[in-house]
Symmetry: C2
Subunit: 253 residues, 2 copies
DNA sequence: GTTTGACCTTCACGCTGCGTAAAGGTGTAT
DNA sequence: ATACACCTTTACGCAGCGTGAAGGTCAAAC
């Protein structure tokens, strides 16, 4: 019932280096060493190793395992629950990665021919650059680094389909806004529809929607010359009208 | 349009250390360095960094990214497909981990009270030890290290529910075998049912089932004194009878 | 008795993708 | 001139071992 490193290693299906490492970090020390320094393991060590490997297969770190197997059984369940949460989080991340990778493959592959794709890629990059050049600094200062980076990342990750959808949405916003302005009533049906469409449009770029942020953006449309110029190109006073409509839509005064 | 490390780092949302590291491993070198050795990045580098970060978010290793972005666009899709396979494999593994962790939590928690649980844990461990002590060496020699280790690992991972199921199955095998022996016909319905139950029983322990292995095990039941003794305790000649039934069931002569 | 050959030992570097000092030079606003 | 924010290179640290290197030990074979 006594094992040398290699014997125990074979028994448990690990390498002898692993056992020496476990000795080194103090998670599994040999029962004793013989006169010439050989590590000798006994029953207890076999049991302990079995436990270690069990938790290791569950993906628990050696540090955690150490805590688990030296602490009472009560703590083990808690530790495992925490570990499960981590695993679930990891899987969510992984799923996100996979869909993104698949989107990228789809957009890189057939579906859209090469010149189209290049145009689109080029367009995306240019859009980010322009964004950065024109509004980057101020927006970064106002809304923080992270938000802007996330927005750019999202833009880069859009598929062509999504891109078309969002472009069409923007057009709809503009045309609806244009029609709504003829009625002159920012609280009217058309104006509210424009606000709704506008909400849909920004949620393509934003990670989360809030009425406050939406209303804030509307305010900026008027306050910032460049945004104002963009909307007023549709029709003079469009920026103000859209702002009013959004303020009513979001119920923020 | 020229950036120092920190400027570019802020623009891209990474640390300056990261940029220096990318320089070091040759994945992103600055356009030039100024008179006092400062790294200066330009347009091209911004673009390249954007690409790097894009792939990095997909979980691609920096080595792979280097290959992708220096190779023609054609290879990128292939590389991504390979990457996708890896991610899918990873997710499968993760799912397995999660279910195992959940099983463990369930078995550690309520459902079964503490003393029951301890008995069960103890039983499992003892079973493995006994297995190892009695049959370990020979079985290892006959079937290879890996198979035995996997079998032990599987045993350790069983939940109490599964354990009960497998125990009940073993009893069923025995009682059916006992009844079948009264008919005296190893090709008869009862004997074949015993063989079928026996198959179900071993598939709890084996990773994959094959007729050859099943028949081989049956042969061993007779050849090996200890196995023979176990079955003959049910009724003298039971080992031989079961072997014959299994041979017929598997169609192996 | 000695020579294999299969064990064992203790260093110690390598892998990934940076974080985090340390020690020192540079740029610019006050 | 002084402070302060920026830049540089060098190098250890992280997890969990793999993989030598350099040398001692043990049983069996000659």
């Amino acid at each position: 019932m006594e094992y040398t490193v290699q014997k125990l290693a074979q028994l448990a299906g690990v390498s002898s280096r692993t056992l020496r490492y476990y000795d080194e970090i103090g998670i599994l020390k040999p029962a004793r060493t013989n006169s010439s320094g050989y590590r000798i393991y006994g029953r207890h060590e076999v049991d302990r190793l079995q436990q270690i490997l069990f938790y290791r297969e569950l993906g628990v770190s050696l540090d955690q395992i150490k805590e688990i197997i030296t602490a009472p059984a009560f703590d083990a369940a808690d530790a495992l629950k925490e570990h499960r949460e981590k695993l679930l989080e990891k899987r969510k991340q992984l799923d996100l990665l996979i869909t993104n990778v698949e989107k990228t493959i789809a957009s890189a592959e057939g579906r859209t021919n090469m010149s189209d794709k290049e145009k689109f890629e080029g367009f995306k990059k240019k859009m980010i650059e322009d964004n950065e050049k024109q509004y980057g600094k101020e927006i970064r200062e106002k809304y923080g680094e992270e938000a802007v980076n996330k927005s750019n990342a999202k833009l880069m990750n859009m598929t062509r389909e999504e891109h078309e959808a969002v472009t069409k949405l923007a057009e709809e916003v503009n045309s609806t806004l244009s029609q709504a302005m003829e009625t002159g009533d920012p609280a009217g049906g058309l104006a509210q529809k424009a606000a709704e469409l506008h909400k849909q449009w920004i949620t393509f770029y934003w990670n989360e929607y809030s009425k406050e942020a939406h209303a804030g953006l509307a305010e900026m449309y008027v306050a910032d010359e460049r945004f104002k110029a963009y909307y007023d190109k549709i029709q003079p006073g469009a920026a103000e009208f859209l702002r009013d409509a959004i303020k009513i839509y979001t119920g923020q005064q």
